[in-house]
Subunit: 322 residues, 2 copies
Amino acid sequence: MHTYPDLLKLVNQKIAQTSFGSNPKELYEPIEYMMSLGGKRLRPVLTLMACDLFGEDVNKALDVALAVEVFHNFTLVHDDIMDNAPLRRGKETIYKKWNMPVAILSGDLMMIKSTDLLAATEISDIRPLLFLFNDTAAKVCEGQQIDMNFETSKEVSHEDYIQMITLKTAVLLGASLQLGAMVANASKEDAEHLYQFGKNIGIAFQIQDDILDSFGEVAQVGKMIGGDIAANKKTLLLIELLQSVHKDDKIILEALFAEQNQEKKIEGVLNLYSKYQIHAFAEKEKQQYLTIAYQHLDDVSVPATQKQILIDTAKDLMERMS
Amino acid sequence: MHTYPDLLKLVNQKIAQTSFGSNPKELYEPIEYMMSLGGKRLRPVLTLMACDLFGEDVNKALDVALAVEVFHNFTLVHDDIMDNAPLRRGKETIYKKWNMPVAILSGDLMMIKSTDLLAATEISDIRPLLFLFNDTAAKVCEGQQIDMNFETSKEVSHEDYIQMITLKTAVLLGASLQLGAMVANASKEDAEHLYQFGKNIGIAFQIQDDILDSFGEVAQVGKMIGGDIAANKKTLLLIELLQSVHKDDKIILEALFAEQNQEKKIEGVLNLYSKYQIHAFAEKEKQQYLTIAYQHLDDVSVPATQKQILIDTAKDLMERMS
């Protein structure tokens, strides 16, 4: 069994060895730049872990792992345009450092390269991998569109929200694991259980993200507490609060949405979260998805000791340690 | 052998039968809209023609044909954002009818769907098709970037220009044919000759496009004569003129670039084209690529009578009749 740092090293070596192209440089320099920004490379590491879990040589899954990472970075490049985001991992986004057309085109090229990498895998039929990969990619696009729709939606239900984070974030974690299992020729059932493990961990992670924005420590979160509240962002917490508030508090809440004093706004919403026990609700919700995730991991037909690395990785992820 | 109208009908039926998805509608309605704008469907028809040429059932190549058409439309959707284009085939572009994020995301989804369609083809190994498809897709992105670079480049050489139109337009015509030949299990040599036929026809077509902008009839071109001149666009004609002009005429030409009166500007540049015999030069250049194209078609090992439909299609294309 390989450790996370082992697998991360393999992924980073593979990225360093891979040439995406060179001419014209306006197209390929942004790709090299984006791929070199680093990060924890969670998705490709999960692909290798899944392959390792079934005793297959992880090198066999390296092309797929890189495909997943390149795809993920493609979504970030295009999302940064749509979100008008200036920074990504503390560095300028491609959109800001170059320009919008370059960000569109270099993103497009990354998407193209991702299926090319996938197809380089040495297995007899790549079709099942490609169909899963493309189906997941389509879902990620759908999730991004639904997220953008939320900005102008008056009402977003709890179910809508869970669907959005499932599509935008969770399915790719599930697919990263499933693809690794498929390369290792795992049974359909095992591959599907791993997918469900990753997907449900992903949902729990996004809920945790919402919780930390309101109830985290600055040191843990790495950014200002209450950013989502300040932006009136429809998080699971706010959606639940909107469902729960009594008439008088609803008036208070609506006044807070328009409040210009950010400190006062954050304090006011946090008070309502406390009154309606939103923190406990969100923790319970998160726990439900974690329970489902671990159940699926239990059902994977390999010895429990071999699964420990996936449990540890999920725990680190929830604590934002990895 | 099937006729162009036969094959066009097949392509349009296939498009009408294909569901790309439905939810969220902001993502899938633009795709349906774009795919229903029509046009001559040249690329997928070429794929079917190539398949037909080797006696294979054209239905076997329908998925690949649609993949090519969806990919082509994806490039148009993203190009329209970069070019800030309001209209496409006389209808509003997705970028204008919806918005920029919707155009980025629905374009992304079309790219994803295109490799999915390709992989649906019933042949034992789709890898060679996917690699050709992705390699071509990457080249089209490179061509678009090089074309954008030209807008701010001081000097563009004849070779640079031919490379740009080759990447941006010609390789996809070549690949459309080659993919059809591959589905029909044609020999590598025959498939490669068809690729070269399509690529060289594509280059000739782009040169013809430049010629018609300056020397065409409005009825034939369907738009104002001299549009490229008015926009100081670096066409093959202007590049050749810049290479040829003597010192005094160069001063006149540079004054024309800054001329605000469009009629005067177009007339002035056309006079210089006439003086330096640019029309004849471009016709000769076009003819060279056509000669290469037909040589490659000659070398394809099927009876000459069966190739007539490809010759007719190329002729119609050059006369903008198809």
